[in-house]
């Protein structure tokens, strides 16, 4: 459920670290999101230097929710499924350990945004899209996030596939050069990274789970109906979603 970071430090410009150097052996949710289990929220007056990160996170989140076509489709789809999203209730900007960008906390039905690791609007757009896909899966299906690694793997495959994070341009920026079917390689690799970020399991177990569910989950494009490679695809998908009543009543 956590979205593995791009290997950069907090808002740095370094390239992605190779897999064997990534600090992905997190011990669990509590060590990634330390504020989640703290007793009460920290007093804002004592942590004033974090207000800047928090305010920036809140502003970028608001812009994403209001303007990004991937997110607007997901919000509509979730409302249609009975899970209307409330910004104050379902999103939380927090400091996180490691280089994780965000996560979906199924126990509280809340999306965590790592305000110390999300540094620009495009990154915020991708993180919110990624986590909303997890939230959408949680809303429409019985996903055993904590007890079934195949379920977790499926949602991570879908999130990597449909969030735009494996677009050709993003992969080139990560210095991953490939063209023919490279999208699938990226989706597989990033799904494995995301699983390892939130589960204390071996890379082999994560790989096995992803490989077992890949064909089914890679081809599950709900609610987009297609793989949205960029905002144009996302707008077409949103148009189709808004037309669904006419569509299904006439086929």
């Amino acid at each position: 459920m956590a979205r593995a970071g791009d290997g950069r430090g907090p808002c740095s410009a370094a390239g992605e670290q190779p897999l064997n150097q990534q600090q992905q052996q997190q011990q669990g949710t509590s060590q990634v999101y330390p504020e989640r289990l703290a007793e009460g929220r920290p007093q804002q007056g004592l942590f004033s230097r974090f207000l800047t990160h928090n305010q920036k996170c809140q502003l970028m989140l608001l812009k994403t929710l209001e303007t990004n076509p991937y997110v607007k489709l997901l919000l509509d789809a979730m409302k249609h499924s009975g899970c209307a999203v409330n910004k104050e209730r379902h999103f939380s900007c927090e400091d996180c350990n490691g280089n994780v960008s965000g996560g979906f906390d199924a126990s509280s039905s809340q999306i965590v945004l790592c305000q110390n690791n999300i540094c620009n609007q495009a990154h915020m757009n991708r993180v919110v899209t990624h986590e909303l896909i997890h939230a959408f899966d949680h809303c429409r299906a019985h996903v055993n996030w904590f007890t079934n690694v195949r379920h977790l793997a499926c949602s991570e495959v879908r999130a990597a596939n449909l969030s735009g994070e494996c677009s050709l341009v993003n992969e080139i920026f990560r210095l991953h050069f490939g063209l023919k079917r490279h999208h699938q390689t990226c989706v597989r690799d990033r799904a494995i990274l995301s699983i390892l970020a939130v589960r204390n399991i071996s890379k082999e177990v994560a790989e096995k789970a992803v490989d077992e569910v890949f064909e089914s989950c890679f081809n599950d494009h709900e609610p987009f109906g297609r793989i949205p490679h960029n905002q144009t695809y996302a707008r077409y998908a949103h148009r189709d979603f808004q037309n669904r009543d006419r569509y299904y009543s006439n086929i």
Partner: protein
């Protein structure tokens, strides 16, 4: 499929035209090759556009049948893989509940 009296094409004809042109674009060719390793097949969108326009002009049963079959095939193709999980009948009961620390206040 609804009765012919109340039936209309599943999508506006303009949508079929837009999908066909988008499918044929160089950008989509690149994206499709990047995902699937082969060129996209766009001919069905053109056939659907022709059927849609035929329906608008002449209301033929053939146009209606052709469009329905085409869209049913798209839906079947999208649903052919067995889901990993079971779908819910209703949303999670705790989705709208207050956060645990807010409930304790």
């Amino acid at each position: 499929m609804a009765d012919s009296g109340g039936w209309r094409p599943p999508r506006p004809c303009e949508t079929y035209r837009a999908e066909w042109e988008f499918c044929r674009s160089a950008r989509h060719f690149l994206h499709h090759y990047y995902v699937h390793g082969k060129r996209p097949a766009c001919e069905q969108w053109l056939r659907d556009l022709a059927s849609c326009r035929d329906w608008e002009e002449r209301r033929t049963a053939e146009a209606q049948r052709s469009l329905c079959e085409s869209e049913q095939a798209r839906v079947q193709a999208a649903r052919k893989h067995t889901l990993v999980w079971a779908l819910r009948q209703s949303p999670p009961a705790d989705w709208h509940l207050p956060l645990p620390q807010e409930k304790d206040k």
